[in-house]
Each structure stands twice: as C-alpha cells, then as structure tokens.
Symmetry: C2
Subunit: 630 residues, 2 copies
Amino acid sequence: MAQQRRIQLCTQRPTSTVCVLGTELSLDIQGSAPKDAIAFHVQGTPGVKVYVVHETQSVKLPSSVTRWPLAAGTEVLLTMEAISKDVGDEKVRISYFGEASGVPVGRAMLYLTCVEVSLDADTGRSGSVSRTLVDKTTWTWGPDGHGAILLVNCDRDDPKSRLMGDSGEPQSQPTDNRDTIVCSYEDSIAPEEYKHVLGGEKLAYAVKPSQHQEESIFYVEGLAFPDAGFSGLVAFHVTLLESPEKGLLETPIFTDTVVFRVAPWIMTPNTLAPLEVFVCSVEDNEDFVAAVSMLAEEAKCPVTICPLPENRNDRWIQDEVEFGYVQAPHKMFPVVFDSPRDRGLKDFPVRSILGPDFGYVAQETPENTSSLDSFGNLEVSPPVMVCSKEYPLGRILIGSSFPRFGGRRMAKSVRNFLAAQRVQAPVELFSDWLQVGHVDEFLSFIPAPDRKGFRLLLASPSACYQLLREKQEMGYGEATMFQGLHGVPKPSINEILGNEALRKFNAYTQSCISWNRDILKRELGLAEQDIIDIPQLFQADNQARAMAYFPDMVNMLVLGRHLGIPKPFGPLVDGQCCLEERVRALLQPLGLSCTFINDYFSYHKLDGEVHCGTNVRRKPFAFKWWRMVP
Amino acid sequence: MAQQRRIQLCTQRPTSTVCVLGTELSLDIQGSAPKDAIAFHVQGTPGVKVYVVHETQSVKLPSSVTRWPLAAGTEVLLTMEAISKDVGDEKVRISYFGEASGVPVGRAMLYLTCVEVSLDADTGRSGSVSRTLVDKTTWTWGPDGHGAILLVNCDRDDPKSRLMGDSGEPQSQPTDNRDTIVCSYEDSIAPEEYKHVLGGEKLAYAVKPSQHQEESIFYVEGLAFPDAGFSGLVAFHVTLLESPEKGLLETPIFTDTVVFRVAPWIMTPNTLAPLEVFVCSVEDNEDFVAAVSMLAEEAKCPVTICPLPENRNDRWIQDEVEFGYVQAPHKMFPVVFDSPRDRGLKDFPVRSILGPDFGYVAQETPENTSSLDSFGNLEVSPPVMVCSKEYPLGRILIGSSFPRFGGRRMAKSVRNFLAAQRVQAPVELFSDWLQVGHVDEFLSFIPAPDRKGFRLLLASPSACYQLLREKQEMGYGEATMFQGLHGVPKPSINEILGNEALRKFNAYTQSCISWNRDILKRELGLAEQDIIDIPQLFQADNQARAMAYFPDMVNMLVLGRHLGIPKPFGPLVDGQCCLEERVRALLQPLGLSCTFINDYFSYHKLDGEVHCGTNVRRKPFAFKWWRMVP
C-alpha cells in the first residue's frame, strides 16, 4: 500500500506541495469548501493522476462525471509518475459549486512538485543494492524472505592499526567496529574516502541534495552481534522535511525506512571440510605436533602451529577459541569466538588470528568462569531435522550441570550470545559429571556416506565392558593395557573386569552418557542407528567426577574422512590393540581412515586429548542462514 | 512423542530401574549380548508393554515371532501403564541364543518400578491446574494456543506491610514481588502457611516424596514484567534423580518442564467502560472538581478525589499514572503504571493506589526525563485491524520527536517496557512540535455505535479556520472569543482571520497533525470516515512550539457516552458558542453527550486541560490477551 499524505487546501490562496514518487496525496476537499458548496469539480495537468473515491468506488479522472457531491465519504487522491523538471510544474484545480449550478462559488489551486526519495539496500539479498516494492520495514526469514543483511565489522583490515586503546592500555577487541572509521569495503579503498555520518552520538545526518546529486551512497557497518538485549534488527530512516516559513520548525513530508538484520555468528560442524588445522607447539609435544601435521597433510589441509611464545605453554587451543563465520549476500568471512577462559593462549586470538577479513568476537563474563566456559564444551551438530523442524545449520551443544542441582554452568553471557544468534538453537547437555566437564569428552560427530550424512559417536563404558568380557571369554584375560608406556601400571583385562569400584563408577558414567544420548536423540531427531558407541572407560577423581581411564577416543580430530584418534593403549590381543581394532571395525565401513595418535603423556595425563589440543577452521555451509526459519 | 530413556542391561547380574509413567524405556539389547549370541527372546510380566522394533516395524509382544535377530536396527521398547505397588514388582527377561538353538547362551533380567512424576500447571488456560498431553515446554499464542500464565505479584495484599526497605529507606516499589513471602493466593491465607523454596539465590529445591505424599502444590509469583532483556517466559523443571551407589553422584532419570509466560501489562482505551474517575483537589479548582464529579455521576461512575496533602498541588494526574491491568485465566487485577515524571503526585500511586489486588509498576529511567515522559503522552487505541492483522487490544500510541532530528523522546526504558508487553504494539507519533508534547493534545478516541465502534478525534486548525471563515461570511466577523473570562483579551473572528502570523503557524501545526493523521490511518487501518476533525487553534511559544490558543477540545474526558470537553470560549453567534455548537453537531449524532467544562484558569492557562487533569480506571477487555497472535 502506498504511503498516503493528507493535504489541506485553501480557496484564499494557492497551495504548493511536494509529492514523493510512489506515494499518494489525499486532498482535504471538505476542509477548504466554501460554506454554500455542495459539489466540486477536480481537474489536473497531464502529469497528475487524479482519482475520486465516492461511495467506496475509485474513479479515475477524467470521467463522464464532472461534478461530485461534497459527501463525507468522498475523497480525492493524487499520484504522480515522473519527477518534476521544475518546481510546481504540475497542478490540480478544485472548483466548488453551490445549489445554483454554473459559476463556481470558490476555487482551490494546488501546485505540485514530484521528487524521488528512497532509502535502498540489498533487501532482495542478491548481493547488490536495488529498488524494491517489497516492504522494507520488515525483515523475514526463509527461502522467500526479504530484508537487508549487515555484517559486524569485527575484522581488522589495517594490520598496522594500533592494538593500544586511547588510554594506552592494550585494547581487548581492537576490531574495526570499535572505531568510527569505515576501514574499507572491498579492502582496497583508503579510509580517508569515508566520512562518519551516523552512529554513536550521531543519531541524524542531514542530506542536502543539489539538483545534480541524484544519489548518496552510505556504507554501513554492524557494531555488535545479536545478544540478549539486541535482536539484531537495525532500522534506518530517511525523512524529507519541508522548509517552513521563517521562524517555524521543519515539518516531515515523507519517511522511508529500511531494516537490516545483523548476520549471526555461525559455527561449523565436523562434517564440513577443514580449511586450516591449529595446534600448539609446547615444550614436550614434538611428536604430537608431527602426528597432527602428518594427518593434516593426508587430509590436504594446511596446519598453523602456534609457537611457544604465543601460547605460553598452553596447549589447549580447542578450549581457547571456536572458529565460525559471518555471511551476507555480498560477503563472508571467518570469525573467531574467543572464550572467557584466559590462560596462556589469552592473547593469541587477537594477536595472531584477528586480521583482514578474519573477525573476532568475545563476550564479557563478569562471573567467575569455570572449566565449563572453555570451548571444548561448545560443539555443533551437523544439519538435522527434528520431527518436521529443520536445523539446516545444525544445533549448538553445550555442557551444563542441568538437570542436577547447583554445579558448574557455562557463563550466562556466552549462553545468551549463542541463543541470540538464533540459527543454531543451542541444546544444553549434562557434562558436569566430568572433572573437566566438556561435551567433547563424551561425544563427537563424524561424516558418513549414508543416512543423515553423519554419525554421532558416544563414549560407551558399557560397550567397553562388553568388549573386554568378550576378550576374556576368548581367553585373553591376562592381556594388559598401556604396553610401551614407561612408568604406567599395566592392568590386565581380568583385573579391570574384577575391579568392582571401577565397574560401579562406569555404570554411573554410562547412565550420565545415556541421559545425554536420550536428549541428543530427542533434540537432534536421531535414531539408534545414527549413534555409534565407542568403547571407553572412566575413573573417578577424589570428588567422584569422571576422568578418562585410558585416552578418550571420542575426543578426536575430524578432517574430512581422516580421523586423528587418541591412541587408547588397550589390551594387546594377538599383537593388536583390541580397542583400536574395534574402533576401526566400527568406523572403517563408513569410509573413514583411523589414525591413532599417541597423546598419553603430552595431553591425556594433563586431562585432555587430541581434540582438546587442536582446532579447525572449516568451510562455511553452502546453505545461507537467512533461508532458514528459526 | 514420549520421552525415551536408554537402559543398559547385563547378563552377569539383574538390573533395576524406574520407569516414569508416560515415558518409554529403550533396552540396549546389543550392549549386553554374549559374544556368540545371534538372536534374542524377550518376555515381560503383564504390567509391562513390550515392543520389538525390527526393520522399522514395531511389533507388540507377545507375537508369533519368538526369536528376534540381534541386528543393528533391532530395538526393544517398554512402557508401563500403572504405578507399581512395590519396588521392582514388574520384570522383563531377555534370553540370548547362539547359532545352536535350544538353551540360551545368556540371560539379562530387568526389574521395573513404575512411578508417576509430572509438573503440572494450567497449561490449558482454564483457570485450574490439570494434566495435559500438550507440549508443556512450549508456549503458544492464539485461540488454539497453550501454555501456563503467571501474574506479576505487583499488588500489596497486606496493607500493614512496611513501606520501608531493609535499609530503613522508603521502598520505591513495596510490592509483594519484592519479598520472598507469598502473601496470599486468594487473599485469605496467612503467609505463614507458605515456605519460600525457589527464587533469588534458591535455584533448586529437593522434593523428598514419601509413600503417602502423592502431590506437592507450589504457588508461583511473577517477579518482573516482560522487558527488553526478558521475554516473559519462565521455565520450571522437575528432575527425578537416582540415588546412586555410595560415594557416587546422583544421576538424572527423568525431567519434566513447564513454561509460563508472565502476563503483560495491558492498557485500556476510552471505549471501555469507566470504573473509577480520578481528579486532584488543589487550591483553585473547586469548580472543576465539581464539574468532573457531576459528569461522573451522570456516567454512574465513582470519583476518587486525590486531596491536596497527597497531590502537593500537582493537578496533572493523567501525567503521573496510567491505569491498566493484568490477567491470567484464574485471576485479574488492575495495575497502575507510575510514570518517570515525579512531581507533586510522586508518592500518590504507591501510597494511595497500590494495595490488595491493585498492582503497581514503574520503570527506572536513568536518563533525564522530559515532558514527553508524562503519561498524557501515552494513550491506546480501541481494537483495530490493519490489513489482515488484528490488534484486538488496540495499539499503544506515544509521542516522539521522530522523524525530526534530535528533540525530545520518551525514555528508552519506558518504550522498551511497552513494546515488550507485545499485545498492544506501540506506534510512535510526532508530538515534539507541541510545547508540552503529549499525544492527548491533538487526539482522542470516542465510542461510536457504527463502523469500527469508535471515532478518532483530531485537533484541526484547518477545520477551525473553515468554521471561522464561514461565520465571517455569515456576518459574525465581530463576534469575539473568551466572553466572560476576566482579564483575557477578546479577539474577534475578523481579528483572528486577519492575523497572518497565526494563520501561518496554524498551517504548520496542521501539517504536523496531518503527518500524524497519515501514520494513524496506516498503523490503525483507519479510513477518513473514522476520523472527526475538531476545530482547534494553536499559538507559538517563543521557541515556535505549539500551545492551544483556546482550551484544547480533543483533550477530553470520555466516560462511556458522556464527554467532558474543555469549554472553548469561542465566538458567540446568536448567543451560542460556535465552537461548542460545531462539536455538538459532530458528536451528538453518535449518541454522545457533550458537557463543556470550564478549565480556563485552573488548567488551560497552566498548559493542560480536562484530560490532563483527570484519569480513569476502566473495565478490562472481554478479550483475553493470550488468544491474540502478536
């Protein structure tokens, strides 16, 4: 529906006004009628389309009717279809008639100037700005949705830009959205070309059009991601104001509005192709770095090794950051989410990852952080469908103490941030039963050629007991674990199966994992056949919290079909580790290649494994987030 | 879909577990199978319903098939339909068979105890708690919606409860939601009967069921209204935890969740029946109070006169508060919204309105407040339909400086609060052109028997000029205004029409009102016939802001069909005020009775009128807010 503007007329003197192209003027015929008038005639120059609405019928003029009654329901509407060449170059005349026909009892003249005012953006999501007839004031999701998209300018295009804030302190987030400089649109235009006109204290900007200026181009940068207090929608308005009589204030004539949505931060599941593997080089992990590098080479994926000076002997790069991306129709770039866990790797994301077209985001966490705030506790599923509800970008998984009383929980600000992105609706799992408490200690996703395109791997004490009993029955009860590991006790299958405390504790950990299995089946719409149980045992710490009894195999690195799995050092049966053998038997039929990486002393004994010690930047989804309905 | 829980079995020893009524157990048949097993038989006692899911078919047992292959896709599901009388009084036995049929190669026993755990609320919105099969974890709007509703306990049931906070300072909002006492459900039960178990620091409460305790009843009070950072949804969970082996932590077995929505604060338009009229008695307004009281008597509506000690000579009771209400299926009560404007009437809402079953709400406004924060600038339309979108509770109207640069605007916290209620989607109008800047200076709604059930009245300088010109043409040019008002200049119609500065200023105010007319037509779906132009003139203050030139007639008190209109003191034509005559001619045909109240010295000269000096508590809508779709 076209915007409509009411115009008062006057029989004493002519009225002049502006008509904005695409809008409608409604003339106040009654308001200017002389007291004896009972009918009117209306006539316009050729550039004005005139309609009389009478008794709910709309009649385009000229028509056979020449005089219209001055009835309460009678309206005169005008539109114009071309911009005026001169001020007031089109006009409309209203003639009023009394009882006695013939000479008009009064006349009202309206001089019209047609101008074009429009605020345009890429509302069609084509990648370029265009005029549109769709409603620009609303933003809709889905394949037929419309509405413009804004990226948070959270990268740092000028690598020379200062890392220090105005106060001389290091800036915690020295990203491009923190200043008023628009630092390049195509990463090639010098910032000097742009002037900051809106944002911060500047809530309005006057555009003074000249006759030659047909178009003003504004570049827009997002300053913040959607969050608990910010839906992500940003509205811009342009208002045409009429210069009034001297001494009076300007009056609005026309407003156009365009609504943008700030693009969400999106996580990438294991099923997406790896683009870059990260691993830390610390004092004692040369072999591990070599093994990861070799695996990455097989997967044809480059490796970035974070050196000791940058990691300050902190090897847990999975916990420090999560790689994701932002996308608009015109541009896409990776964005690293820096966790509130700030140990040795604290400065690495800002100093070494943030850069041109590589964004950065973090959340302030006023509360005391716990181990559950590390991003080993933040994973995302592949795309799933739950009943008829589609999650084409998967669902975020975080570990929590829920449904138990108290306990540890991820910081509220991080949970709010993740939920506010809306496109990967988070699921809270129960991970507080673990000493470290991360979801990657009991689950992983791997690509599969069939079914939903993936399998969920779950650590399974029950599958491990079944395997060990099977081997015992086959006569391998004396086979021992941890062969070749210096100084590590070597329990036999018989000893493990005879350890009643260990059995009870693993029945308990199994029930915790089963609880999560039930949630995952429900919230991700999985069937039993979508889940693979990976044999694993846990042991209790002194607070009855679970730690992996042998290297935790689900805590793996997934690079396409190449899996880097913590080497379990299971009992040797016929010279073969029966745990490795079982895992190969489960995964190789899916076309996956299993590489067991020795992380025993360098990671496992420090309460982490291969996944905790690596990180992967992955290819974004082919699916565009705005085409989903959250 | 029933909640499902995965159960591990064991051939070494029997397994015991609890089955929650209405849920499903999924048995891990493969996980406990001896290594040579290739098939199984399953059998349950009569209280257990057993299903085998094989090749995607679900077969209820007993069936003609007695042995099932141990294939990957084969599942065994159990349900129970009655609560157990004893622990483990039902059981299921799995027998495993190898290649050689006959004797089982292993057996797994499962002892089952069926219990009932359910968190119930009035999800059906019937006014009482009931069991339901609908999804309690979601809350949906509309006539077919479901989900429980919570009221903010913002009244003060104990009139003796202290107005002082713990610090000895007066409490700004001493409402029942500010303490941990549940002060009556039916306003008849002593608070001692209740124990505070959840809320504030208390995030969990352990229910220890005995064999005799079949039901625990919890009362819930809302603590805060929906707001920018709070959607209004509150989730409660009950979790059944299994007491584990000594030294281990409890494990969750079942969780039930119920989601409540906090009821929004709802405004009442002029078209709703008046229940109570408020007016302030100050030093110089005896006649005004008498006139308002007489009008209220005609409308059969009680009057509450706020005495001088309580209003401290502040007569603008419209500006201090807005009356609304909250509603749940089981209860409804009025709630006064206290504006950030804190003048003489500052303490009146808390001291004299807040009470048993009369709630109170306010918003903190850290910014400097302006005149636009007064609630004369907060109105609500009657129910409207815009294109096909229904607003069965109308839309809130607030005045703003938009679309002009800068200027005054209602405090963000109040705007956020109003929008967050969702059921009366606010529309921002342009009111900053007025010196006082309130929407009630240029608009009002009155009931009407036809069309949409109401008319929008708009102040109209153009209609006033038309009327005065008509009277001039009829020979009454020398008729003067303000007859009978001592010390007030008495301009004639000729003088007014000859005042070029006044004409230009009123052309400007007309364009500001027309701008709002266009917005109102668009946002409320109004036609020209839904609008009545009420003759009115404005004059400029020294900043070119508008003030009513004569008492502002749209600023009226609407009590059903009885209107209390500021007496305009227009030019006397044949002994009749031509302005009053015109307004009667416009409104009486709608069945309305016009009473013109002299507020000239007591209100008009102090920049307000009848509406500003009164307030009305109205009957709530018959329409229940949860039946709409916002």
